[in-house]
Symmetry: C4
């Protein structure tokens, strides 16, 4: 059957992946309340469409930390891609490069950094890291990614201790024997004997470590996992270049707020330093979701390997069927672009129910995009 939306890819992945792998990608912490809220928060948003705008030519290009990307959607860091696709993170890097978007490589990749760079030499690449207990390792990693042309460091700050994912506990989840972490040298994996490398992360990580990292490199730093205004203000004060508003896809501390929608006392909806990047991952499953997301915030990072898997299959492969699929996506994107401009104008022209700095978006740089592909999206092979 044709795969025409992310839920189709999700169902496809569930059908084809081993249970333990699926559970790992799908799972949230504890009761999965926050994971599910991420989706529901989108469903509660309603758009006010404006009509009779000329949308014959639209352009979804934008810039992210100074670099142009083809549309305000990028790939958030997720680990263990080889669990879902043979060439794992290298495939994802290729797909992101082909689509002209940013791919954030995870420190817990199952492909090596050199392979990832070789797969997509001209793709925009960022690097995500946890504060490893071994600070020397962190230093070496930063030097390595600087040398390999990664453009931004994304420090994940919401994981001092691991989330309790029940399915992973029941499945005794771990990497199969033929896979291993390729970016952290095995000898320095603190939790190597354990199921998950979470033991590598230093639970003492605090704002001083951010300052230390800031002093270590000239790359821009983005903090991933900020959910409160107080912490966002601290981030500004520590000299980082942006935040990724994220609840880790609901996989870390269950019961925290969703990243969009709803009343949020002391939340993130208030005015914001103009040059400071604020990016938002998690939860988008439909085109409308993504559009909504990008209007409220400046950019969306697709989170979860569901999406990664989606991209692995749709964007990343070089086989013939996959090229066709990519063409289909391009076709779909044409339509999306028209619709995107439609919505953008709607939203820019109207005050949004909750305050958000959409007017500050580095947004509408429209250009025509003729895409002829006539056949429907189909499953690869």
């Amino acid at each position: 059957m044709a795969l025409v939306c992310l839920d189709d890819f999700r169902a496809y992945a569930k059908r084809h992946l081993p249970k333990g792998t699926w559970d790992y990608f799908e799972g949230g912490a504890d009761e999965c309340a926050t994971r599910d809220d991420n989706i529901l928060a989108f469903k509660r948003i309603r758009l006010r469409p404006r009509v009779l705008k000329n949308v014959s030519t639209v352009d979804t290009r934008t810039t992210i930390q100074g670099t142009e990307i083809s549309c305000p959607v990028s790939i958030a860091p997720t680990g263990f891609h080889c669990l879902a696709w043979p060439d794992g993170e290298t495939s994802m890097a290729r797909g992101a490069e082909a689509q002209g978007v940013c791919y954030v490589t995870s420190m817990y990749s199952t492909s090596s950094l050199t392979d990832i760079v070789a797969a997509a030499p001209s793709g925009l690449r960022w690097f995500q890291l946890y504060m490893h207990k071994d600070r020397q390792l962190v230093t070496e990693l930063v030097r390595e990614v600087e040398a390999l042309g990664f453009r931004v460091l994304v420090l994940t700050v919401d994981t001092p201790v691991g989330g309790k994912r029940r399915a992973d506990l029941r499945n005794s989840f771990g990497l199969p024997a033929h896979l291993s972490l390729q970016i952290i040298p095995e000898a320095r994996q603190v939790g190597a004997g354990h199921q998950l490398p979470i033991a590598d992360i230093d639970p003492s990580v605090c704002w001083e470590d951010v300052s230390w990292l800031r002093s270590l490199t000239r790359l821009p730093i983005v903090l991933k996992g900020i959910l409160t205004r107080e912490d966002a203000e601290q981030a500004v004060g520590r000299g980082v270049q942006g935040i990724l508003v994220s609840n880790h896809g609901g996989r870390q501390l269950d019961g925290v707020l969703a990243t969009v929608g709803g009343p949020r006392p002391g939340g993130l909806g208030e005015p914001w330093p103009g040059t400071f990047g604020r990016f938002l991952p998690a939860g988008a499953r439909a085109h409308t979701h993504t559009h909504t997301h990008t209007f409220i915030h400046s950019l969306v990072f697709i989170e979860r390997l569901l999406c990664a898997e989606h991209c692995t299959m749709c964007l990343g492969s070089t086989s013939r069927q996959h090229i066709e699929t990519v063409q289909q996506r391009a076709h779909t994107r044409t339509h999306n672009r028209a619709r995107t401009r439609l919505c953008t104008q709607s939203l820019l022209a109207n005050p949004w129910p909750w305050s958000c700095p959409v007017s500050a978006l580095p947004w509408p740089l429209f250009r025509p995009c003729p895409c002829p592909c006539p056949v429907p999206i189909s499953t690869p092979g």
Copy 2:
């Protein structure tokens, strides 16, 4: 089994139509959030009934753009009727004429304009059009419908690009070989080789085109697909005669507001120019729904082919069973009239929770309506 409500007709249609046809009629865009909201929004409304009003004689007649109709419910434009009933739009036209209501013929009809007019020569007919890429075709169409006695032009403005209906993509939906668009000459169907004629619609359509259409004809113009006060005000400024508040039955841009109920910042509930027509389709499934609708707004247009199909079977046929069915409906309508007056008085006598200009309705012109039919409504043959 007897068909006693629209949901029964819906179930009947699902049972008898090919899957692809049913999916086309039933489908909404993306996640169908707006399609479903259209129904749910009605379910949230609660009436405050008044009692001990004499309802022995009631009259549901009203006028629409200066013409009297038998009740404030009419038939919104939908395409491809021949998919659901052999004589398609001509049958619908006959039914609407028999019931004394208005039928809006779609530009995407599978019956020809002359057949539709011949089937119901004295019926009140309006014509719906999209802004075709070929403006000469639009001009010729306007001249043709003027000559054929159509009384109002309905310009649909919410479809510069097509909604993504997932089921249609999966089904590769298209017209079967024995059907074709009868109103647009085949040679001028831009998207003729494609599954859907959506490619014919000009994505550059904007307010200037409305002014152009206004200058082209002396027929009243109604814009279909307005959802915001800002656009409604623009419509007034462009000299059109009314709007159809519609979200295209949720088939176009998913995630937009339902057309009734709920809080709507900057919405359409405020006072309105007195002579300007404001009509509302979508979502009504029960008698109470329709009544509610007509009290809040001045008139309801039944949307979706579910309803069209209902009317095709109930109103449109000339066979013996169908005449009986029509008699049944008349009987039901008698009761509805009594109930309608009951409710009308309730609502006129009380402020509605949200502001709406019900007091401005060209409404209660009561007359007796004795209808004896004693047998229950039954399915045709």
Copy 3:
């Protein structure tokens, strides 16, 4: 299995009654939104219990239109009891007399007035009537019930035209051949040839008819079916003695407000003339529901034949098993009394979230009630 709550009796009735009969008793109008709201409205209410009140002796007696009853719960009028139990309304009258509560006989009874009176000669009896098209019949009925010791006339005012109950239409519901209306002489049943006697009711009924009825008799008059403050004020002005706040169990006009709970602009929650009776039926399914009901309003009438059926089986029979069942109920009621007082004190001692004149209730006349019955409630043989 033991029947320990009304839902158990409901399930029992569904299992044993013919489908058409069950559908008639269970059915609501159109989409049953109001029928279901009646239940849901109770579920949304939360009590604030007070503790450490001496509840060793409690008394649930109260008065209704000047007559003492054993507890503030009585039997609302419902028709066609013989559909559910062989001796129909006479059984219900016996049960109500045994429990010391009021039974309102329906004009659409399948037992005769003389049989009902003979079955429960000392029971408190009220009589419900519709405004029949034949006013002479109404006059004769009023004279007859005056002579037979009925104490109050209950005029139902929410049925000028009948509700559209879909299941009844599908089932072509009507009384079976061996049953007939016993109170209205057959020769004067306007709708005799039809399935339901609804055609007997005059759709022209209005406030003048209330005044006419008021002039016809010295019995107190209670209007059943009032849902708005405006109509309640009219009722006071017309000199009637009380109202039954009812939406006809959701069987009449679907989509109207539930009778308890929720915000109700212009509703019935405001202060009220002190001597004017305000009674409330519908929806109570659990003991807590009934208690809640009686605190908010002065008295509950149990509506729907579900409850009637319950009472028919539990209260009405004189067979040995039924006597035991009645003893059980008495035992249960003892507990309820203790709990009732507990709640009463809680509520009287605290302002209720919405304003209601509980402080004006002719309430706590406590007396001890020792009931020993040790065996669990069981279904009658």
Copy 4:
């Protein structure tokens, strides 16, 4: 399968316990609205997590009525433990002692007081009592528990008459022949011949009895079952040392408020006498729940035998498998401690949406807690 959360233990218990026993432990009064609200109220709470706090060392110790416990979670009183585990309350006492938390022994224990004390001689023990009709028995019990080193009396005040648990009525629930109440001498069990000892409780119990109990002993007294501010103020005035905010797990009066969350007019969220203990049981099912609970209130008591059963199996046994299980729990607790501190700091640093005296908590006494256990939690045997 591994048991990794309370719901797993719940499912395990349901699978292994006889239906009547399971129904007794699981059941709520009437429609179980309050029982279910207790869970739902937690699910509605959302945390605002703070990040980049050093959580490498945390300490969850606190004090309760002057005694230190290892974490702010203790075991609320529940009866009939031997129904679920052979050595019943003695097992629970051992488990609580091993974990360094408080165990409140129920007056309806199926183990004797001396056995309970012998099983956990150095555990912190409180005693729960109902106001028995036989005041001499109450006096003797108080003397006995004083002598046995119980530190606090917990008087349950929400049970003057018993809740109507439908499943228990249907099952004719009672203790099996081989079990009996061990704390109340059989000769003085008023309701000995009945299914449940509820008949022993004096329905006349009132505030004067609290004063009498206060005069009888020098032990601190905590009232269990207070849900309103008015009653809490009365408690302060009667000289007791604390209250347990409880709705009896929804097993007593159905339809009362949940113990956490939601708007509560005249509720318990306001400032409070500083030295007065306020404890809250009921509903916590996930780690996050418990944490949330402890931040809003000073301490959580785990209620229901589901939890008791959980503890019986996890904490209470001395068999080899059980020791392993306890080690697992300790491991889990390590993680919880880190997370707890994380949350604590978040919440202490931010105003909570509803007012609560978290700042008054006798809280963060941090100490390191190294726990190595690497294997996942598994079911015993």
